[in-house]
Structure formats: structure tokens, C-alpha cells
Symmetry: C3
Subunit: 409 residues, 3 copies
């Protein structure tokens, strides 16, 4: 299952599985309301997922319909040096209008990526990348019930524009799963009890710590191969390096709607609209004055943070998404970018993995408003021993002005 | 032991351990001389550490005294979906003035965190976070003598201001352990022979490689659980991902004052004062001219780097710390931010872990000034064989203008 | 083998191996055509590699010929606290003109680093660092045939200038292996069948994911020690944390020219020349207008990305390298910065590891231009089943306008 994507068809020709990739300008809807003009493969960015089987001989035709030359590097594959796709070093560049042939045998199963190794900064900043999954020859090995793949990519698209800036190094504003942003990203739908694998590749410029709620899990595969069981670590956040892939697995035993997102909080935001300009620090004097209003001392009527924005009807430029958006059953989710939901459900019909809607929580299992007397409150600091003072609801134990010092002095 | 922090008292109510967190504006002294106006819990940022035991049933009241809505996500805990704290997705937001109840059973021991999942960028940039330590039901499991916890957080506070800017993505200037900066951070005091654990959580926007001098050690726990012994790596620097926690352990067999800090050298600096403006690149022409003075060729009397600044009395804005500061027994330490000291001592009275002052080095164990003839010097390049020329002190072996090429040509 | 570097000679004096490091201003050719004025040791940045044997007693004289005080920290070594090199905390600073002595026994084999712990931000931004390799006492342990070491360092040098800016935190423009950039970096030459180790230390401000083509491999050593075999992961990209070292090993069984580089695509670029100013976003209005030309819709004659630049004769400022450069047997490589080539060759004369030139590919093993009819193309989206339509070359299966939705709906 390629999130918001698809698998490339192939045909058998003698001993060879033949695929055809076309590098070309594409349009990609990042979420309803925003189109990006990118470069990709076969009409989309990222390109389609290539799937094949360990031991297959693959022949891949690559046609270049871009305005400049390109190549494809098969990241992680073991292959003859001349098939490695490094323009100038291991092959001539593929000029516009030309088609090249790559041929190699798939020596091992695993999760690989493909992307250009020619004018690399520009071509990857424009969205040229895809997944290459090689299934084990023995289908019982590493078997799972649900297998999801997505690529992390990042774009720098000015609000109101369609084309990324390609020379940016750190300050991207569209952080994507498969060139889609929340709320435009498919949920991961699984049945309770399924064995689930999530394969995530990172072709941005920074690490992304992918955090999934509700479970702990282990990395079972990198783009270098399968990780032996005794070497695995328990994790709730997988830090995926640039140019790296991590596949993690878990048994879907806890039903619910579980957030799955990058834990860098800017990466779960979309590009800011022009109306927010005063918030992003261009004019520091104006900005500081506004920020002081966040603390009640400065603004007695208690003005707020940014939470209202998710619900506000703002005047955004054309082709621009709100910074924080998306609604679920309990209200505004206030997210964007690299955020989606793992939906674990009991009683799905066999093989029916279409979106089941929001989770119906059993009674009494949702955090609820307390209408009784407010419980006792203890404020910093307390004595070093940490002995718990006896307290009753409504009784204030102690309120001490914090002095910033530790409890052992 | 929460560095510069404290543990939240609780009370037993039937089967339940009850805690009360109050989200509210706080003041935090980052180090003597600088106060930050933040948002936190129970009078402090970070909030108090919650400690409980595997198998406990916990009921946590959360009262919102902020000017905007909030929630709390219990990062890493296994719990019912409706207790997961994702505003809009798994529960309604907690409006200002309201109190909500979270209830769950602690299914496993380990080291977890808590923070809002509502207007997340703003609320975490304002300091809302805390630790949640679950001790094993069997106290002999994973037992240590000293157990330290601290959170990495980062703020963007203009020199002279009190309130962070909340929309910054990378260029923070206050890099903290538990919202404190050197020299305001507690030392980690341990007795020689103690088994020591250090638990570090990262809720900033970038990886922090935590480096501790004097020892090698292993990660024994992540926020996903305990790491099996055969999977552990020897380390001197633990790279802590955003939204991740790493606990490492070691036997404190080497006495001394051992630096413990983030290895990104900007993160051991405090915010620069206005007087340094010409150093930080606003006017590149002026800056380049000044920097050329760093190399003697350009400035025959040999002007220096920045080391003098730590000792200089500079005119700083109000509420601003020097960029590099702190003194120890041998002079200026020239640090700030994410820096503290592990103090390993023989002969501490049982349980007496108050700051023992600076380490008294045994005679002859401190690097000393050499007053004899200057030894022979070899300069790049040397022949490929690397054979060591015989030399006597004072004799210059060879001085060759470096040409930048390797020794194998 | 220190890439573009050398090993420091020593002399035996009783029980002690004596070394002499001189901290001083140096010139370093980063690649032909660009000299940097840095600070280093013994005439070079990075300083020479110190090599010794487990159990050795080492005495290291450090002479300071810089215009400001310094110290040396022996990163990763187990040693007496007073030899740890933290100025102010564990020793007095070494004033200009003075020589200090460090003495310690090498308690364990492994790969360590040395660098100042005094005015650290400035001195490391100026290039002061080196490797310290301790070989096992038993030469059969961890034996390899080829053993390469290099340090990752980064500089911020304005095009046309010679001296780095020292206060930069993220936007460096010269990303180096041992203070050299492509095409100025030595290749790693090995014989087919050699066991190879590559030791990489990171003293920049950000993680570097070091990606090597053609192989998968395992990390066998960190700066904390040797990694037990059962804990190792298969990798094709090693994410090296700041202040960390990773050594990886592999059997060189695949001949060829294999790219070895940082996978952050900006780190395989050199500083941009002034002629590119309009590309790097100073004037966003102009830039956006130019970028729109990248997509054919906006610019019917199909103007290109940046690939031409590697081949263009541009007017660069003095002492400035092209952003993308280097030529190999098939044309322009379009790289810079942290990029070099692993050259695996059959039939090297024993011990003859000089550069063998470009790889002679066996016939039929290089990706080639296809002159026949263009194969069928499938464009996004396809049906969920992913069944491969039968197709013949030249036949277009389906062309559907992408709508951004997944294949399971």
C-alpha cells in the first residue's frame, strides 16, 4: 500500500520483468485546495512504487521528458557499477527526449528507493523520487498482513505560488508524506490483530522522527537489509536519517485512531499564509510587541496563542493551505504537513480496508470534563524527599513562587 | 532526581493514584540574571516529574489556566485511545478554566513524557512539557543508585526580552536542560562506585548529541521500553532524536569533574547580547573585515578569537546572560546553554549528594605547563610510510608548506 | 590512511611515546583553486592523525601559536580527569606561546578525536580537530586490509574570501572531508577482496548521513568502543551524529567506481558564486519569476534546471570553486563538498594503492541509450489491484490526469 500512490505495472519479456519510468513535469495536489507544479515520474510525484521479487531480473526503461538531463540511482540495490546511475561517473547523462535502459538482478529482498543522481539538489527539490520494494522469494519470510510505504519529502513553495524554490537548505514550508500534507494524506487502515509494517524513506534535508501513538514497535528493516531480531530496539519514535529508510512492525492489538506524525512540531504545519506575516518575525519590533500579549500580565483580557487559527476563516492567498487545519470527531486537529492517522478496527470485513470513519470509543474511555471541586494543587518547589502531602480536592497544599532551583539543595 | 526540578505529590483514592496538573503561565529563572515568562505546569517549566509504579492505576486531573485551550498527550504510554490526549482527534479540547480527567493503568515500566497535543508548536515553544517515570513493579529490576532526568528544550528569546518567539523553526538561542542554562544547571553528584542512570528527553526541533566525558556507556532504555543487553552499543555521545528519550547507564568508577553537554557547539552558548551584533553577520562586509583580523597575516599584533568575552565586563541588555560564562577552579569555562558537570567523588557520606565543590586532583594528574626546551615539530606533509623520524626536543625535523595532498601519492 | 592527511611521528622516551602538536594558523587548499585560512595543528587542518597501540603510555606536548588561549580535549579516551582538556574546569588554559604536557595510558583500542575545549565555537569553526586511532594490542583483533579515516567539518566562507565566519550555526557553505571538498578529496582505493574499514568523525553542527553506493555494511566501532556483532545493523547510509564517530566495514567484493557522499544534497555542493545570487532567494520576486521557467507551462522553449552550471565557464570571484564540478569518464559529475569515490579494483599489485584511474566496465554493464520504439507508459492512477496490463513497446496503456488520491479507494 503506497499512501496516496500506486504500483507501477510491468510486463514479462523472456527472463526479464520490464518497467517503464518517464521523468516529466507533473502536477500534484498536496491537499484539497493546493496544487504543486513539480517534476516526477509517470504523472506523479513521488513516482510509482516498483515492486518485484528477490531473484527477478528487471529491465527498466527510463525516458526523459524534462527540460534538462537526468539519471536514476537505485538507492540500496546491489548491482553492476554501470547500472548505479551516477551521471558522469558510472554512465552518460540521459539527455532530454532520450530513453535509457537499466538491467540488473535483484540480489536481495528489502526496501529501496530511486531518485536522480544528476543535478541532484534541483531534481530532488522538485519531487523526483520513488520506492522500490523487493519481496522475499519465500513468501513466508517477513510476512505481514498490511504493508505501507511512504516517502518523506519537503518543498519550499511561497504561499500563493505553485513551484518550489530549489536552492533552499533548511527552511522548507511543505513537509510531506508522498508529496501530500494533512489533511490530504490517506489514513493507515488495519484490522485488529493484523501484523503491520510501515516503511518510511527520507529524501529531505533533515532527520524526521516519526512518532506513532498507542504502540511501541521495532525497526525490522533498513535500506541496507533486514535487522536481526536481537539487535532491535523498542521505540515509539523512529528517527529516519536523510537518505535512509526504516521499516517498523507491530501487532495491531489496540483499537483506536492513533496519530502518526513527525515529532518536529514545525513539520506538522503547512505554509503560513500572508496574513500571518507579522507572526513570523520579519519585523522583530512589531512581533515582540504582539508576542508579549500571549502572557496575561501584558494583556489583561487574556489573548490567546494560535489555536484559534485552525478554526478561523482567514483570507489566504490562492493555492494556499491553512497553517493548521483538519477536523475530527472532537473538533479541530490543528495540524498540517507530516500527520496522518492509524485506524485500528475490530470487525472489518476481510480485505476491506477502506476508511472506516472515526473510532467509536467504548463508554468511559475518553478524557472527560471534571465538574466536581477542583483538586488540591502543589506548586514548585517541594522538599527534596518528595513525600506526598495528604490532600483533599479543593484544598490548596502550598503555593510557592518558583525560584528555579532543584530539590536537593 | 529531576535536575532543577521536583516530583509531583499524589494521593491515594481507592485503587487510584491521583495527580493534579495545572497548565498556567509561569516565570522560570534560566540562570541567575535571566527570567523567562513561559507556560508550564504547577508553577514551573518544565512541569513536575510524575513518578509511579508499573501496574498503578493513575487518575490525572488537568486544569487549564492558560488563555487558550490545551490537552495533554502521555508520550509513550500504552493506554485507551480516548486518553491519548490529541485534541480534536481523541478528545475535546480543554477550554480555559476547565478541568479534565485522564485515567489509565500503567502497563509497563519506563521513561515517558507529557506535553500538549493542541496548538502544539506554540505550547511547546512556550515550555509546556514534563517527565513521567514508571518504576518497575519488582524494585530489583533495572535498579540503580542514582537516577537523573532532564528534558531538552529550546527557546528563542531576544536579548533584553522575557517571552519566547513561538514561530521559530531552527534559530533558537536558549538551549536548555529543564529550561535552565549553564551555569544555572544542577551538577550530577554521585559517589564513586554508584550505578548511575541519566534519562534525557528531547522536545526541541533538532537532534541533540549528548556527550559525557570520562566514561563510555550504553543506552538501556528508550521511550519505547528497555533495550535488551545484546542490542546495546558503546557510546560517548548519545544522539537524542526529537520526540525521543534515551536513558544511559554507567558505573561511576572514575572520580573527577566530567563535562556533560550537547556537542553542537552553538548549543553550549547563551543568547548573544546586542554588543556582539557586528559578529553575527548582519553586515557581511563589516564582518568579513573584522574576521580577517583573526589571522596574524592580516593583523600583525595578533588579535584574538572570542575567548576574552567570557571574562569581559560587557554592557549587556537587561535580563540577558553572557554568551559564554561560568567559572571553575582553573578559570573561565566559556560555556552556556546545555552544559553541566558530572561530579564523581570518593567518600561521600551515605546519601549526601549535595554539591561537593570542585574536584581535588591527585598530584601530577593535571595537564601542566612545560618549561623545558620545546620538542621537535613535524609539519604536514610527511612521506606515506609515516616512519617516525628520530628527534630530540628542540630539534625541528622538517617544516614543509602544506599543499593539501595526502600521504599516499 | 588519513584522506588527504598524514600520521604524526612520535619518539620513544623511556616508557613513553612522545608526540608534539602545535596549534597554529594554517593554510589549507580545499580543492585546486581555493585556499582557506584556518587554524589547525602542525601546518594543517585537520591536524595529523595520532596513531598508537592499546596499553601505550603517551605524552603529548601541545604548543600554542594561536593569538588566543586553547586546550585539547581527547574525545572518547578514558584518562585522569586533569588530562581531559576542559579549559577552566580540568586545567588552566594554555596561553599563547606556552607549551603544556598531557600524559595518559591508552586503556582501550578504538577511534577517538581531539579538539579544543576552549572558545570552542570559534576554534572548531576555524578547523581545529584531528583523529586519534588506538590499535588493538593483539594485531589479529579487528584486523582489516584497508583502514581509512576522515573528519567531517564545515565552514562558512563567503565566495571570494579566505577566512570562515565563526558565528554561523546552520548555513555553512563548505562541507568537507578532512577540510577538502570534491573534486579535491582522495579516492578510497582498495583491492577486490580486501576487508575495508572507514572511520568517520563528525565535528560540524548537524548530522551527516554518509551514503556509500554498491554495498551494504555494518558499523563495527563508535567513539565509545567496538560494537558487538549481534547488535549491528545492515546499512547503506550511516547517520553520524555531531560529536560522534562511526566506523563501518565491508568486504570489497564488487569492483567499480562507487560514489561515497553525504546524502544531504546541499552538502555535495560548494559555495555558490556571486553570479548565482538571483538563484538563492535574496530577491524573492525575481527568484520566483525565474523559477517558474523551470516548468514548461511557463516557458514553452523548455529552459532547464541547474545542470548546465557544472559545465559552464562562469565568472567566479577569486578563490571560489564552482558550486557543482568534477569530471569523470562519462562527463560532468555535478558535485562538490562531501563527495568522493571508492575504487575497487582487481589485479592491483600488492600494496599498490595509488589512484588507478576510472573503472573499465565489462561490456554490456553500463546503462545504455535505447534506440528502439519507446515502451508503453502507465501513468497515475491505476486500479487498486495493480494488475499488470499486457503491453507492447510503443503502445500507450493509459494516461490519466493525476488526482492525488491513493490506489485503495
Amino acid at each position: 500500500m503506497t499512501l496516496n500512490g500506486w504500483t507501477l505495472p510491468w510486463r514479462q519479456n523472456g527472463d526479464w520483468k520490464e518497467f517503464h519510468l518517464v521523468a516529466e513535469p507533473v502536477e500534484r495536489e498536496m491537499a484539497p485546495g493546493m496544487i504543486a507544479r513539480l517534476w516526477g515520474y509517470n504523472g506523479q510525484s513521488p513516482g510509482p512504487t516498483i515492486e518485484a521479487v528477490e531473484g527477478d531480473k528487471v529491465r527498466i526503461f527510463v525516458t526523459n521528458h524534462l527540460p534538462e538531463h537526468t539519471t536514476i540511482h537505485w538507492h540500496g540495490q546491489l548491482l553492476p557499477c554501470g547500472m548505479d546511475g551516477v551521471g558522469g561517473l558510472t554512465q552518460p547523462h540521459i539527455k532530454p527526449g532520450k530513453t535509457f535502459v537499466y538491467e540488473f538482478e535483484l540480489k536481495k529482498s528489502g526496501t529501496f528507493m530511486y531518485h536522480p543522481h544528476a543535478d541532484e539538489m534541483v531534481q530532488m527539490a522538485m519531487g523526483m523520487m520513488g520506492f522500490f520494494v523487493v519481496h522475499p522469494r519465500d513468501p513466508k519470510l517477513h510476512r505481514v498482513d498490511r504493508d505501507f510505504v511512504f516517502l518523506l519529502s519537503a518543498y519550499d513553495i511561497e504561499p500563493g505560488n505553485y513551484v518550489p524554490k530549489v536552492a533552499e537548505m533548511t527552511n522548507f514550508n511543505m513537509w510531506t508524506f508522498n508529496t501530500r500534507v494533512f489533511p490530504g494524506i490517506d489514513p493507515l487502515v488495519v484490522a485488529k490483530g493484523d501484523r503491520v509494517r510501515v516503511r518510511v524513506g527520507n529524501l529531505t534535508m533533515t532527520n524526521h522522527p516519526i512518532h506513532m501513538h498507542g504502540y511501541d514497535f521495532e525497526v525490522t528493516c533498513t535500506d541496507g537489509g533486514w535487522v536481526r531480531p536481537e539487535a532491535r530496539w523498542p521505540e515509539v519514535t523512529i528517527d529516519i536519517p536523510v537518505g535512509g529508510m526504516r521499516a517498523y512492525e507491530f501487532d495491531a492489538i489496540y483499537p483506536g485512531d492513533w496519530a502518526l506524525h513527525c515529532h518536529k512540531s514545525h513539520h506538522t504545519m503547512n505554509a503560513m499564509g500572508h496574513d500571518l506575516r507579522t507572526f513570523i518575525g520579519v519585523n522583530k519590533r512589531t512581533f515582540a510587541r504582539q508576542m508579549k500579549q500571549l502572557v496575561p500580565d501584558y494583556m489583561p483580557m487574556g489573548s490567546a496563542g494560535m489555536a484559534d487559527m485552525g478554526e478561523m476563516e482567514m483570507q489566504l492567498p490562492d493555492n494556499t493551505l491553512p497553517m493548521m487545519t483538519g477536523f475530527a470527531q472532537f473538533g479541530a486537529v490543528e495540524m498540517g504537513g507530516m500527520f496522518t492517522v492509524l485506524k485500528v478496527r475490530e470487525g472489518l470485513a476481510a480485505g476491506d480496508y477502506k476508511d472506516p470513519g472515526w473510532y467509536q470509543h467504548p463508554p468511559g474511555t475518553v478524557a472527560w470534563e471534571w465538574k466536581g471541586p477542583v483538586p488540591a494543587t502543589t506548586r514548585a518547589p517541594v522538599p527534596a524527599t518528595g513525600a506526598a502531602p495528604a490532600a483533599k480536592p479543593g484544598e490548596t497544599l502550598r503555593v510557592v513562587k518558583p525560584n528555579g532551583h532543584g530539590n536537593h539543595k
